[in-house]
Amino acid sequence: MASILDQDFPDEEEDDFNPAPEVGSDDEADEKPAANDDDDEDEPPARSERSRSRPQRDADDDAKDELGTEGLIGFGRDEDAEGEGRNLDDEDDEEDEEDEEDEQDDDLEGQPSRKRRKQHRRNQFIDVEAEVDEEDEEEPEEDDDLPGEEMHPDDLQELPPGADRDDRKHRELDRQREAQFQMDVEEEAARLKERYGRQSRATGTGSAIVPQRLLLPTTEDPRIFRMKCRPGKEKEVIISIQGRVNERLGSREPVRIYSAFERAKPGSPMSGMIYVEASRVEDVIAACEGITHVFMGTKPLMVPLEEMPDLLKVTKEKQLEPGMYVRIRRGLYSGDLAAVHEVEANGTEVILRIVPRLDYGLNEDVNGPMEAANGQKRKRPLVQRPPARLFSETEAKKRHGKYLSKQGGLSGSNWTYQNKEYIDGFLLEPFRLNALQTEDVNPTLEEVTKFATSSTDDGAENLDLAALAATLKTSTANEFLPGDKVEVFRGEQKGVTGHSVQVYGDVVKVKVDPGNGALSGGHIEAPIRDLRKLFREGDHVKVIGGSKYTDEVGMVVRTKDDRVTLLTDSNQSEITVFSKDLREATDSGGAAADSKFDLFDLVQLDAATVGCVIKVDRESLRILDQNSSVRTMLPSNISNKIEKRRNAVATDRDGNEMKSDDTIKEYSGEQKSGRVLHLHRNFVFAQTRERAENAGVWVSRHANVQVVAAKGGKAASGGVDLTKMNPALKQNGASPSPMPPPQAKGRDRLIGKSVKIRTGPNKGMIGLVKDASPDEAKVELHAKNKTLTMKKDMLTLIDPNTGNAIPDGIRSLAMGRPPPAGAGRTPAYAAGGGGRTPAYAMPSGGRTPAYAAGGGGRTPAWKQDAGARTPAYGGGTTYGGGGLGGQTAYGGATSYSGATSYGGGSVWGGGGGGGGPGGQSTWNPNMGGRTPAPSGSKTPAYGGMEAPTPGFNSAPTPGSYQDQPTPGGFRDQPTPGGFRGGNYQTPGSYQTPGGFPETPGPYSAETPGGDDGPRYD
């Protein structure tokens, strides 16, 4: 407060110059002639007295300041407040005047009114002494705030000779003032406020209850005039005007304006305009006349009354602070990011920290003509702007040693090069504010890291997070998601915690957590800028952006304000980030999942060197190589990744077996222990969580470690291995894993075959397989000149000649068997096909048997199935018939046989009720004719087929194998004719109770079949 008082002191003069606007909110008495004041300046002795009223007015002003006149920019601010205050004071005064015009100086509040002062002035020459005396008594406390107030030299001259004695008094006064000045200023302020605060409230301005609209300007208020000026120079103009005001303060022609301000922002419609608050146009012109960059050609434009408040509306302006990031608009560095190093006091200039773009004279034309004037080489226009790199004195010394000089400084990295200052490699250069872009800077991570790398190398907190946050503050809209835990960190509801429920625009609806008093459980709405995400120790969080730690996951170990320290999962290091950059993590992914190298991967660095990845960064990897040295490499510099060989075995120092995941211990040295990660040649890479450095990875030679505990210990100690206990598997001993799928060895047989694509966008296309892996194949399309890599199961093998698909062809190729089409090769079938073995190429000849084989091949499969089961089901007798049915079916009618075997004879018979017998009878001869042939010639062939058919689930079914000989049974079946006869009868009797009239029919029909049976034999 005291400082304000000091500053405002000169304003007092202005008081007098400015004819009191005399406008209260209620205009009670404004009869006061403006001219009165004009006399004042000629009456210096009155001033000391007038000064007495200062404190009070200041108190008023302060109160008003608080009330919210803070929209004003530049110097106008104080003045304006002052102005308003003044008005009210005057009003006050006038009331006083009316009431007690001629009374003593000491009115109730101890405040002499201006009117009275004026009266004093009239007879001051007579009454000076008395006046001072009076003040002596009263003032010790009041006047203290005006230390060092002295008479203006002019005033002194004007003093009458009789003023001699004043000197003593004045000195006395000075002493008192000095003593007062020793008092704590704050105490002072408080006291003043207490003393005068009430008074100001009495005027109706100091309290917050005054409705805003009453504060709106009225016609009696000074008006605001707009002046044009050169765009971009607004601030300068204002500052010049302020200079002028100060300069003419004590002169005969003071600047009679209340305030001057500008609302310009680069590119805004308000640029190129300044605003001056004054009562008369002439004052405005007087204030601006002759100030550079003001266009006096355009007349001052009076701002309409109703627009005045809008003009002064406060828009929150972003204040540049050291450490914030800006972008440079023009010049060599246009578009570059720069950090604010320092903000000049006047706010128009900032000193920026820039990553310099220097070419150190490399592009200089050495033979270029010298410029006569300064002996410098003429500058060529910049061909290409040099890359942004930190300043390097060695580079500069090469050619420009003469321009380079070292600055004294503790750090030793301060240089001056070509008259510019470089600190820690950064260029420090002053820039005008309007050459900078302060909004929407959006620094990228790379840019920021350039600035970050400089300070420290530990990487712990070298990003100026606060500064970065200030720069990024705008982009907070999507910072909050519903469900986030949030805390209100400022405003009325400070300290309230809750969960965000809804986010719209800049407002977050928060469901308040229990434990927040009356708010608990309710919903409040809070602006985003008052919120921050809340994390508690132990929360598992993920860094989602805003720093170089993006995607790191870790647990919170400490939170302080909005800075959260977390312990990363990946390498147990502590990092500090902003809570806004964090989100509760659900997964435990590590950093930089996009890198093709993972933590602990073994990579080949060069022909002789391998290394283990110990840190995966966004762009780089840290690698511990086999010689225990750590290097940082770009992923592109790594030739390849060595796949982990899980079954690699090495011997340790003692000759014991050492495998992956075994726990080993160093024999000498630090006796580090760890789990084997990789065994490579002569080296073992091991990792332990207990060491922080190199992510716990260390490397040693085989001969230098001992196995402490084999992880295989499980196998050794952990009881029986069931898979090994299986006696059946033990016998052959060869394959411990149960029945591995057959695998093709050698060249994939699919290569060179024609295939058709079954699904996908290329469905239906035909091509040749050029290459194949176990589950993929490269297909060269016939139609397009294109080679596709397809999954094998999306392909169908086709016959290259006909284009017909060969069902299941690929799988059987993979099984190492020829595709079914090849089954035609079986001599028997070939014979079946007419003995035209060489005629395979012939589609029909080739296919017919193939299909026949296909059918034939399958038929017995099912048949076999049924057959195999037949005995197992035990109904030997009953099934005899079925078996026979099966047998007949071999003739070719598979489905029929199915029906027969299921003993659905009756149904069948029923079905055939009408013409059944007839059909049956025609059938039987058929059977009779063929049956011998199959049983004779084919059966062995079937036997041959059975063996390779793996599709049968029956294969492993215990017991079914033993029963396999059933085929023999097949052959036996025909033999006991009597048997069958009996069998048939039995079902017959079964059916009879059914009371079907037809029943006998079928049976009679069948019986001949039975009769036929014996005939075979």
Partner: protein, 171 residues
């Protein structure tokens, strides 16, 4: 905290074990698979008994038999905020690791009282206040679990000794 909990486990049995011994194999397998294992949220300390072994089902395509076994087990599940005792397994400069049963707890420097300073005497790093409190490898420590992260098969937690009555236990 320890609980008795009914759990289920699915066991696949190779066909070669089909037979009278099958249920014995199943039990054997169950104990081996589950006892001492970590589900990511809890640790199965011991299996008390087996409630039920389901009828086996043959898994189509493989021939394995699938059994669902339900059993009762003593499990240990750490909770956030729980105070536990453990033994320091290693000390590093930014904290120390404590083994609490099968759970490894990291106590960060931020969660160690100020007066315990990291010092290295000889080869044994420790956090000590130089008077009577020393945390070094092998010390017993009482701590409060602050956060738990569970993955399949392992758990990891961070803890704090920055509270009254927490810290190294006097032996």
């Amino acid at each position: 905290m320890f609980f008795v909990k009914v759990l289920e486990h699915r066991i696949h049995l190779h066909p070669s074990f089909f037979g009278a011994q099958a249920s014995a194999y199943i039990l054997d397998q169950l104990y081996r698979d589950r006892e001492g294992s970590n589900t990511g949220t809890m640790m199965i300390v011991a299996i008390i008994d087996v409630d039920d072994i389901s009828e086996p089902k043959i898994v189509p395509g493989s021939g394995y038999a699938e059994y669902d076994v339900s059993f009762r087990a003593i499990v240990w599940r750490p909770f956030r905020g729980e105070v536990v005792d453990g033994m320091v397994s290693s000390v590093v400069n930014n904290g120390f690791f404590v083994d609490v049963g099968g759970l490894s707890v990291f106590v960060s420097k931020a969660m160690i009282p100020q007066q315990l300073k990291y010092t290295v005497e000889g080869a044994t790093p420790s956090f000590t206040d130089g008077v009577d409190q020393t945390v070094e490898r092998g010390s017993q420590v009482r701590l409060r679990i602050k956060g738990i992260r569970g993955e399949m098969g392992q758990m990891f937690a961070i803890g704090s000794i920055r509270e009254d009555y927490l810290g190294p236990l006097l032996q």
